[in-house]
């Protein structure tokens, strides 16, 4: 249908012409004025406490203690079960969060402004590896790190970014793709490039050498530091592409550990959900699939803009890390995703694939027709609360939500 082709062209054009710039770090209640005490934003589509998975509950217990809404983890659990907290998806508040995706009033939020359209998107700061809240960790070590991010690192990082006048992100992604990143499970290059850009500004705006050293070491020791920046960037790029009548392009994919949800431009804010699938991956020593929680996080926003599993060909090292096969097969993933997308991104190219642009603009018609589900690179959380990451892998989006989306999308055009 010509209407669909025209609408899809406009949707993808908006995604490709986005101009994301990291401009600040500010408390969540300033970034999102409608966010109030007692509100907890989480990854994925809407979900109630009784259906939440273990890591999600563990993170909620921890964040409630951190915010002072509960005396301890047991108290937080009881209050959550009693309905004392209001749960909402990050996506409903211009935000995203990895894995459990906790966002509450005091969290320091990375601010990415899409200067082509004037909108902003937000994501909390990546906590590092090991036991962290995004994987459901909630002990003293986890909470103390979050307090440091809130009280010291976040404000310092915001000051440095403002001093810098903002950090344009499109070029960092372009360079990262040439250096082996796919921006989901491998952010080594982009994290390094970001540190190179931010270090002078952090030094110039700091009056405490000890804190400066700690801040630089924190970024330098975290290969995934850039992931949360990439996620806020993805959200800032996809939001202007929402709500275009007749467009069958996906504008968000997200998981809460129980349900996988998809948003489509032509059906605006309506979630289409299906049970999440279990990642197929590799596990850290001492863990196995029996320990794993099903797929989780807003991080699939990077696949929505052509990165992550869609850019696997740029990151052969990731194929091995996530158990996706030989490095020589990495390009196969990217080519397959090219079958369900409408365009290639001419600014984000993969040298090892003869400068193929990353596949962009997931068309739900192509997904249903080919039976090829979007491929997502992901971390794997332990299924019990409070333990953390146990591996990394590849997961496919469940087809059910795409079939439901197609039926509803057809309905918006009077097609049955």
């Amino acid at each position: 249908m010509e209407l669909i082709e025209t609408a899809n062209a406009e949707t993808v054009k908006r995604m490709l012409t986005g101009d994301p710039v990291l401009i600040d770090v500010i408390p969540a209640h300033e970034a999102i004025p409608t966010l109030e005490p007692g509100m907890i934003l989480h990854a994925g589509p809407p979900i109630t406490w009784d259906r939440m998975c273990g890591p999600m509950r563990g993170a909620i217990q921890g964040i409630a203690v951190l915010e002072g809404w509960a005396g301890d983890l047991n108290d937080a659990d009881a209050k959550a079960a009693a309905g004392d907290f209001a749960f909402h998806p990050n996506h409903h508040f211009d935000a995203v969060g990895p894995m459990t995706g906790m966002t509450t009033v005091s969290q320091p939020m990375l601010v990415v402004e899409n200067r082509a359209f004037g909108n902003r998107a937000y994501c909390a700061i990546n906590e590092g590896l090991g036991k962290v809240m995004r994987f459901g960790g909630n002990d003293t070590e986890v909470l103390d790190r979050l307090r440091w991010l809130r009280d010291d690192f976040g404000p310092s990082l915001g000051k440095a970014i403002r001093h810098l006048g903002g950090l344009p992100l499109k070029n960092i992604i372009a360079r990262g793709l040439t250096m082996g990143d796919e921006m989901h499970q491998r952010n080594v290059a982009c994290s390094g490039l970001t540190l190179r850009a931010l270090a002078p500004a952090l030094a110039e705006t700091s009056d405490n050498t000890t804190e400066l050293s700690k801040a630089l070491a924190f970024i330098a020791s975290n290969d995934q530091f850039f992931l949360n920046i990439a996620m806020a960037m993805g959200k800032s790029i996809t939001d202007p592409a929402r709500g275009i009548k007749g467009s069958s392009i996906v504008t968000a994919m997200s998981r809460n550990g129980t349900d996988f949800g998809v948003l489509v431009s032509g059906t605006s804010d309506q979630w289409f959900t299906a049970p999440v699938e279990m990642p197929d991956g590799l596990y850290f020593p001492g863990y196995s699939e029996a320990d794993a929680n099903p797929d989780m996080g807003d991080s699939a926003i990077v696949e929505t803009i052509g990165l992550g599993g869609f850019a696997m060909g740029a990151a052969p090292a990731v194929a091995g890390f996530v158990g996706a096969g030989a490095a020589s097969e990495a390009g196969h993933f990217t080519r397959r995703m090219g079958e369900i997308t409408t365009d290639e991104n001419p600014e984000w190219t993969i040298p090892a694939m003869d400068y193929l642009g990353v596949p962009t603009g997931i068309d739900i018609r192509h997904v249903v027709e080919t039976g090829l589900a979007p491929t997502i690179n992901t971390g794997i959380a332990h299924r019990e609360p409070g333990i953390g990451q146990v591996g990394a892998g590849v997961v496919r989006a469940p087809m059910g939500c795409f079939r439901d989306a197609l039926t509803a999308f057809a309905g918006t055009l009077g097609v049955a």
Binding site: I4, R365, V368, E369, G371, A410, L413
Partner: protein
């Protein structure tokens, strides 16, 4: 003898564009088969296939 008849005189080399089981059957008989990754449109779901047809995919 026509070319069609000649086709079956020598060793067969087959390209299968269809169900995997077609290729598996030939392989079990020692026939060289190149199998194309194929599935029916919309995984064979007639309702989805009809919708896709109307939506121009």
């Amino acid at each position: 003898m026509s070319e069609k008849s000649n086709l079956l005189q020598g060793p067969l080399k087959v390209v299968n564009i269809g169900l995997d089981s077609f290729a598996d059957e030939l392989k079990s008989q020692g026939v060289e088969v190149q199998n194309v990754d194929w599935s029916p449109p919309a995984s064979g779901d007639p309702r989805m296939a009809a919708l896709l047809s109307k939506l121009g995919s």
